[in-house]
Amino acid sequence: MTIESHEIVLEAGRAERNYWRDLWRYRELFQVLAGRDVAVRYKQTVIGIVWAVMRPFLTMLIFTIIFSRIAKLPSDGDAPYALMVLAGLLPWTFFSTALGDASLSLVTNSNLISKVYFPRLIIPTATIVVSFVDLLISFVILVAMMVWYRFAPTVNILALPLFVIMAFLTSLGPGLWITALNVKYRDFRYIIPFMLQFGLYVSPVGFSSTAVPEQWRLLYSLNPMVGVIDGFRWCILGGNSHIYWPSLTSTAVITVFFLWLGIRQFRKMEKTFADLI
């Protein structure tokens, strides 16, 4: 073992200068915690990992029936309606599980927080990785559906990783903010499921965002998931879907804002977690 002769000073309200270096030093713990959550997620279930595929698949089926058959909403261009729903459902499912799990993550790991030191930022971030693994797995259905509809992707698909990262950051910012608040005010445990349920209907998951009247479109773009979902559709459905730049810009701005807010609030409250939890 290397003997590093580093010195730490502990004082009230002292912002640690080497916080980010510390975070890097604890990257292995991050891997291990994320690995634990992934390994445990489907333990003692009969169909195991299939759950990750089942949920979006069944939701897709229902949404297609309701929005396409019953409400008779149009799809993006010539793309099959089911495929369009799936392209929106993947980022939404990721966002909602990531935000939901991340906002509870500190409270569920309270035993760790009150007994060991590590940069607390690791916990909510590692939780999001689990939802991220689910997202990767559910891409399997996407591929299967594309084969089923004989729908060939265009070069746009190459931009998909960019939007995946965007989805990750969009859920990280509010996730950090809410999990920090949830340590102090447990009210958020009840607010979040409600917000997510609400969000499912105000985000263009079951329908195309072109279905939104033009004069409302800008206001609608304030929902950061609109830009992410539109981006996913643009990548997956190729020329059938178009990028609406105002919504993409607003998503980027809102994501950066929430990341800044989330990290700032988290860092500010981090030191009192052990006393409050």
Binding site: V9, A12, A39, L112, K115, Y117
Partner: protein
């Protein structure tokens, strides 16, 4: 190599505690309940708007767990931190291991700190023993490479080879604790902070852990802070001590000095407590004011020794003047986990009438103490003329040290229960 690795200056830690207001009446009107609820909601809403902590209860009080604490620790020292419950030991360790931050003062630490405030932190019941070793190791601050290098050693130490791939939720509690401790025992930081964790597991394993801890501290000038209530292990392990009381350092010096200080403080407080305790029953014609222990010759001792005689003297004050009268003096013994072991009472032995003075003592001679080392709690009862005169729950403790019970020259240790029995063994053909 005598440079300072930890220096603590004016360290203070404040907690806010809420209290429920005492309710005079058991029943209250709906209006009272509603107004109190509204007032409380108003306060928490205000707190939340200001971003402050929400505290349950009607009044809020400050509580200083640590108050202006200062001390230094040099490289290679093994420091025993002792003090009564609530003295601030755990808060100190939490600050040193960076779990919580101080309210005032500063701490300077040179070197990597690993803390062990609990065994098996982060163990996940669904994961196998193998997975949990990596998980727990990482949580305690070991790198994957370090764990890998020590993996076999850890498994060996824990004696769980056969169950490595079984989820730990299927482990017996003993196996669980052994595995958890084994991981922790193989930590190699420059500064190790250990809370009362050796008190887990069976005696055999505890000894093994103590041995391991000793190796850890003896090698390469590692600094260890060790909190325990188990004085023999503190004495065995530590080179110096720090005694805390009400959040400040009462003593900092040699380990023997610290333990002596601690023992005398315990003694003083328990003695003082006995006299001033209000939670007693009885008509008070006779009041127990103190309990003391003495050896065969009547010399005052702090603890009983397994296998030796012990005189327990129950000192009292009464309104009688040396009359011989029917009294009923009794005390029982409970083990650490609260099991009633036995009861001593004068009436069992036929000595039903004893002389009672204005100030005096009743003495019980225990010819051969047959308890294993540990501390035994006792409830005390004195009846005079068939009326309860004084009855004190958990009145005193009898500390018992290891002793040469069987006259073999070997000490009888803490293994296998609380009692030691005189016994004779022979072998014969049938």
């Amino acid at each position: 190599m005598s440079d300072t690795v930890i220096s603590v200056e004016g360290l203070s830690k404040r907690y806010l505690v809420g209290h429920q207001a005492a309710r005079g009446e058991r029943y209250e009107t709906l209006r009272e309940t509603v107004t109190r609820g509204v007032r409380r909601f108003g306060r928490t809403a205000l707190d939340m708007a200001r971003g402050r902590q929400i505290i349950q209860g009607d009044t809020v009080e400050e509580f200083w767990a640590l108050k202006d604490l200062s001390f230094e620790i040099k490289r290679g020292e093994v420091v025993g931190v002792i003090g009564r419950n609530g003295a601030g030991k755990s808060t100190l360790l939490k600050i040193l291991s960076r779990i919580t931050e101080p309210t005032k003062g500063r701490v300077t630490i040179r070197g990597r700190v690993a803390s062990l405030l609990e065994v098996g932190t982060g163990f996940h019941p669904e994961l196998t023993g193998r997975e949990n070793i990596y998980l727990n190791g990482a949580i305690l601050g070991m790198t994957r490479a370090e764990i890998k290098a020590k993996f076999d050693e850890i498994v060996d130490f824990a004696e769980v080879e056969k169950f490595l791939d079984t989820p730990v939720k299927r482990y017996s509690s003993g196996m669980y604790v052994r595995l958890a401790f084994a991981v922790a025992a193989h930590l190699e930081p420059e500064i190790l902070v250990v809370d009362e964790v050796l008190s887990v597991g069976d005696a055999e394993f505890q000894r093994k852990c103590l041995g391991k801890m000793k190796d850890v501290s003896a090698g390469q000038g590692r600094t260890v802070l060790f909190v325990s209530h188990n004085m023999p292990s503190v004495q065995q392990l530590c080179t110096s001590g720090l005694m805390l009381s009400h959040g400040t350092a009462l003593y900092r010096g040699s380990i023997d000095g610290t333990i002596a200080q601690y023992m005398s403080s315990l003694d003083q407080t328990s003695r003082q407590e006995l006299r001033s305790r209000k939670d007693r029953e009885g008509d008070g014609r006779l009041r127990v004011v103190d309990v003391s222990f003495h050896d065969e010759r009547g010399n005052h001792v702090e603890a009983a020794i397994c296998g030796q005689p012990l005189r327990v003297r129950i000192h009292y004050e009464s309104r009688y003047d040396g009359q011989e009268m029917p009294v009923d003096v009794a005390f029982n013994l409970r083990s650490n986990n609260g099991i009633l072991l036995t009861c001593f009472a004068n009436i069992q032995t036929g000595a039903e009438r004893l002389a009672v003075h204005r100030k005096g003592y009743f003495e019980c001679l225990w010819p051969k103490v047959n308890l294993r080392s540990g501390s035994y709690m006792s409830t005390l009862f004195v009846g005079v003329e068939e009326q309860t005169a004084d009855w004190l729950q958990n009145a005193f403790q009898i500390p018992v040290e290891e002793g040469n019970f069987f006259g073999t020259g070997r000490l009888v240790t803490r293994d296998h229960g609380d009692l030691v029995m005189d016994q004779v063994w022979t072998g014969a053909p049938t």
